[in-house]
Symmetry: C2
Subunit: 481 residues, 2 copies
């Protein structure tokens, strides 16, 4: 006779005492919300760049985890006391290094709900809401960007991952046997010399090899030269190589230059290359009607990436890959073991088939919250304003004879330098960063050290920009002494 | 003369009106916390498997995003009304399909803070806390697992990504020229026929090719046969192939079998293969002292994966890759453009160098919260209890002559079947799932349909297990009529 389940003395779950009781969750949840609300109000009071030294946090933490559980009070206290001083505040309105980002209120609330539901959107069945809301939200975003309805969208963590996905799909189209046989053809890939490093990384990870990544020359405004692209393709063809992938960047990381997508699309079509548009940062600006032209020609792309966690108010991470060849993407990635096989229904997409990771967070929820809360108007207004301020900032730089703007600033990144030595520029940047007033980053262009100033945080005001500029000017005055 | 920044009429930020005011954030934040607290209490009231039909949510949502922003009330209302019915509740105590997971209170609170800080841990400088807390938390976890101190840990999103990282590192060791030249050698890779599909996917993405993935036979308990592995390696060597990577799984997805890691390590050493241990689910059980033997031999591995988002109370996603060859991992992935170049300090790790994605969420925070809140005792007690219950469930199945257990259940997954046709088993599973009482999944083993029952949620009680078993029995009784 089978044991009678309900008769066992183990009915009281030993694990039960371990659950955080809902009332305790509520109490600490309010504390966390209060902390975040205050943080959003007071974020300006923090130095943007953390002032900690390497190893300082590590040394302050115990080398062993506790054997017995600890009260939440203690943990939140340590968060405040130990973690916070080691935070570089990406959500600070004066974070101007890299592309500035905003984690907005609705995005943060969505993240809490995502964590509570904890769904894994690998299969339609395992997470219908994740699967379908992803299609809805990406359909909305596609309209904001003015992309054709035929573009299928899928969310991954970062643009780096999506670059790898795009190149893998391109290879699958160029060499369907690679999946089975392994990478074997001498495939060559084309990016501008200012393309993001993730394209090169994707190529080397996939087995294409760095030697087969062609970094195409740019013109005086740092845009890929179509004639140089054509020459490189022709040279490779003559050498027996197989050109298969070209990336046009809309808003390069180093300088936000915009490659001539239509001309590159012409060449991609002529030579049968997969055209990828990397609009991780700059592509988002196309939601502003007067900047829609940024994506001119992108309707001819095979794939395009935009990152809502950059300039579209979502917390990190969420990167969108659109492709008009979902069948090819699926062909490159789909591997379905029996335990993940589901009944076929043409409307029940299994999004795991379109990418590398099997586990998929419910990232669409934050994009949906953000798009609804801000609406097109406010999101577009923010981007428009940031671009205006970048132009104004560039004008201030130009108007100060001690400085020069070193590249056009079509979006919200201004690259400039102090008319002095590289060492002086580095000292200038380091001094501003160390002051806590702002966080700037650098690049080396044409052999010279330049300072990058990017605008992109929702809380940034024109006063912030003006004060950072004053801090830069004052620091420069100190350099001359 | 430069324009005077402060004199501009634009001082009032146009973007400012778009920020969610802190008081509004606080109000809706409390609502979200209340909702989650209630959800955690009432999650049992939901059907585990969503009852929505394919396309139902999609059809209920407007095809266009709003032009003007919408109030948060409306968004949260739609979340409740439209999204929730399309949720399959992974955080439900009767979610027994796939490996059950728990998003715990401290993990959810950490996610809200991660979103608010919004740091990108690509560089030490860009996020010292993210970089150093990752090392601390992974050091703690390494101790819980009994792994050697020499193992370096890094966090990525999922075990699928980490499998790709491990294989890429192995290739870099076997063929350092591949990075530059591209994948060219006839590399062969070895996994058990029950290994996770992500190994195969990783191999095909990297350009190794599915034809070069050897699925090694298992013994009667579904563990990789070392003699078969040796024979496969020898055959490949004789055929001029280059064996380079072997994966031993600790807790296979289909049946939680544990491959003989020490014997596989012997072969890996003899033939110079990179040894990877996939402990995404099962490896975590090694935090229980009496299950530490699960990782016997893993100290000889070159890499090992465990997923805190599976059996260690963290919300999805967080997967840990340990390796004793961080230099090789770095060699396989590091690409540093000038704008990401930082001053060298041996203690200032740039974690972007150890993987594909440049963007890195502050995932360590949730692991740190969870390890501290539960402590080793409570986390281990939960896992021990789940294993006990799985054994008890297996005994109930064995004691009912209508059923059979089809594989040993060393961890918390029981694979069983109704002694009838595959069709009856499928009907049984579908009926239980449709009832909302539980969510079970299936597999096909030795040509027969089997039902998978996994235990792993923190809120699960022994009563849950007993009631699900009763529901299965009652449903089976209906099958016979």
């Amino acid at each position: 006779m089978p044991p009678e389940p309900s008769a066992s003395p183990q009915t009281e779950a030993p694990a039960e005492g371990a659950v955080m009781p809902p009332e305790e969750f509520r109490r600490y949840g309010y504390q966390v919300i209060d902390w975040i609300a205050d943080y959003m109000r007071q974020v300006r009071d923090y130095p943007v760049l953390a002032r900690t030294r390497p190893g300082e946090l590590l040394d302050s933490l115990p080398p062993f985890a506790p054997e017995a559980g600890e009260p939440m009070d203690l943990i939140l206290n340590d968060f405040q006391k130990l973690i916070l001083p080691a935070i570089t505040h990406w959500n600070h309105p004066r974070f101007h290094a890299y592309f500035s980002v905003s984690s907005s209120g609705p995005g943060i609330l969505a993240e809490a709900l995502i964590a509570a539901l904890n769904v894994n959107g690998m299969l339609w069945k395992s997470a219908p809401a994740c699967t379908e809301l992803e299609q809805t939200a990406l359909g909305w975003l596609r309209q904001w960007l003015g992309l054709p309805e035929s573009f299928f969208g899928v969310i991954h963590d970062t643009a780096s991952s999506n670059a790898l996905h795009a190149i893998a799909a391109a290879r699958h189209l160029a060499d369907p046997e690679a999946r089975r046989r392994g990478h074997a053809l001498p495939l060559t890939l084309y990016v501008s010399e200012h393309a993001h490093s993730s394209l090169e990384k994707g190529a080397l990870v996939l087995g294409v090899g760095q030697d087969n990544v062609r970094k195409i020359q740019v013109d005086s405004e740092f845009r890929m030269r179509p004639d140089a692209l054509r020459d490189a393709i022709e040279a490779d063809l003559a050498a027996g190589k197989k050109p298969f992938f070209a990336c046009a960047t809309v808003g390069t990381t180093s300088v936000t230059s915009v490659d001539p997508v239509p001309a590159i699309a012409d060449l991609a079509e002529r030579y049968g290359l997969w055209l990828h548009v990397d609009g991780a940062y700059g592509g988002t600006a196309a939601i502003v009607p007067e900047f829609r032209c940024l994506l001119a020609g992108a309707d001819r792309a095979d794939s395009i990436v935009v990152n809502p966690h950059k300039w579209l108010l979502c917390p990190i991470d969420i990167s969108v890959l659109y492709t008009r060849r979902p069948d090819v993407l699926r062909g490159a990635f789909s591997v379905v073991p029996e335990y993940l096989r589901t009944q076929e229904d043409p409307r029940a997409l299994n999004l795991m088939d379109y990418g590398l990771p099997l586990g998929r967070r419910f990232r669409a929820l934050k994009l949906w919250f953000v798009m609804r809360y801000f609406g097109h108007e406010r999101a577009a207004a923010m981007i428009r304003t940031h671009v205006d301020w970048a132009r104004e900032f560039a004008a201030w730089v130009e108007a100060d004879s001690r400085f020069e703007v070193v590249a056009p600033a079509p979006l919200s990144l201004v690259c400039f330098r102090y008319r002095g030595s590289d060492e002086q520029n580095r000292r200038l940047m380091d001094a501003v960063n160390a002051s806590g007033a702002a966080y700037l980053s650098h690049n080396v262009m044409a052999g010279r050290f330049v300072i990058r100033f990017a605008i992109g945080n929702l809380q940034t005001t024109r006063d912030d920009i003006a004060e950072v500029w004053r801090a830069i000017q004052q620091t420069a005055a100190g350099l001359q002494e």
